[in-house]
């Protein structure tokens, strides 16, 4: 890989760093594991970069790699943990900040919702919340577009039922 290619990769990663952070946040419960997973995702992105087809959207490619690594990572690392534990030191700090109780409630709810989902549904939720189109979600996950819509509707119903 030449210098120009490396710089291009670095620039794209910097532009889309939020994807790695969001995936790591969705799949890991504490800061150390999150950092470890983020590093693993980046390592795998770097390894897969020579095969990246520049004609295709970078975000889709990046999401696929990040989610595949995250799900595999979690299946290996957190197998014994039955539930994602939403409250970590970071979230205690968030909760301690007296600025916006409603925002804290939303964060807590988000963590609770994530905790209740299986690994694949977490991926779906994350992609939806990150405003990815149904078509893009279908491409990333490898399911049909109509299936994406159905699953998102079910997620919505689930949230409503939870808050009822």
């Amino acid at each position: 890989m030449n210098k120009v290619d490396r710089e291009r990769f670095a620039a794209l990663i910097a532009d889309h760093a939020g994807i790695v952070r969001k995936v790591a946040t969705t799949y890991c419960r504490d800061a150390e594991d999150r950092a470890d997973l983020a590093q693993e995702i980046l390592a795998q992105l770097w390894a897969a970069w020579p095969r990246y087809d520049q004609e295709r959207p970078f975000a889709t490619w990046m999401y696929r790699v990040a989610l595949n690594v995250a799900i595999s990572h979690v299946r290996g690392v957190y197998r014994s943990a039955r539930h994602f534990e939403p409250l970590t030191d970071d979230h205690h700090q968030v909760a301690a900040a007296p600025v916006d109780h409603e925002a804290n409630d939303e964060l807590a709810l988000l963590q609770d919702v994530i905790a209740e989902l299986d690994q694949l549904s977490r991926a779906l939720l994350l992609l939806y919340l990150d405003d990815r189109s149904h078509r893009e979600i279908a491409e990333i996950l490898g399911i049909g577009e109509s299936n994406v819509g159905t699953k998102i509707n079910r997620l919505k119903q689930r949230i409503r039922a939870r808050l009822a």
Binding site: Y52, G76, K156
Partner: protein, 226 residues
């Protein structure tokens, strides 16, 4: 509150971690070199061990049947060591094949493929990996006999089958019969939906790792169907 309201929460959470989790590309490049590229690395290393063990086993098998065939008395004079050597030769080759196939499956994983296809493939690889271990392990119900025959022949030049071939035949047939019976009971329980029995087999022979791989495959199937 609706699902869409959580979009803001995700954005807020991301913003919060943005400063903490500065992505260090220099470290990433080091990480590529230093760390196992993915969680499959231990499995891949295990396959190398399996291939090496298979090669040693096959060589011992060849040494035994070759020695039996070309020593005084020939094959008919050393039928026990000859057959044991052939069995171990075949067993070693099977171990090598298992190792090579699983290693190829692991090495060709494209992490940028759609999530469901990769996760299904990984679950299948894990299942094949565990099943290979079970098959290789279970065959020792019978293989301990040719192993002993081989060991005595290679170490001391002694054919321990020759004095009482009937006893060895009976032991071999009993071992094979026991394995066949266990297999038949399992197939019957599976066909008739007796989950208590099949579950007992899972716990006794496959253990947790195979169940995990099967659970993963089932979860992927359910996600696709629902």
């Amino acid at each position: 509150m609706e699902l869409d309201d959580l979009k803001q929460a995700l954005a807020r959470l991301d913003k919060r971690f943005e400063d903490q989790a500065a992505l260090d590309l220099a470290n990433t490049r080091r990480a590529v070199r230093n760390r196992a590229a993915d969680g499959l690395a231990p499995m891949a290393r295990g396959q190398i061990g399996l291939i090496v063990s298979g090669a040693i086993t096959a060589l011992l098998g060849v040494a035994t049947w070759h020695g039996a065939a070309f020593s005084a008395g020939g094959i008919s004079g050393h039928i026990g060591p000859f057959v044991s050597g052939i069995l171990f030769h075949a067993y070693g080759v099977a171990m090598i094949m298992f190792g090579v196939i699983i290693r190829l499956l692991i090495s060709n994983v494209d992490w940028a493929a759609p999530v469901l296809s990769i996760q299904r493939r990984l679950a299948k690889v894990r299942r094949a990996y565990v099943l290979a271990g079970i098959i290789i392990g279970l065959t020792w119900c019978v293989l301990w006999m040719p192993a002993m025959v081989m060991a005595f022949f290679l170490l001391f030049g002694a054919d321990i089958v020759a004095p009482s071939p009937g006893t060895w035949l009976w032991l071999g047939a009993s071992g094979l019969g026991l394995m066949a019976l266990v297999g038949l009971v399992f197939l019957w329980a599976k066909a008739t939906g007796r989950t208590a029995i099949t579950g007992g087999f899972d716990r006794a022979f496959a253990g947790e790792r195979l169940n995990r791989a099967q659970d993963d495959l089932a979860a992927i199937g359910a996600f696709e169907r629902d």
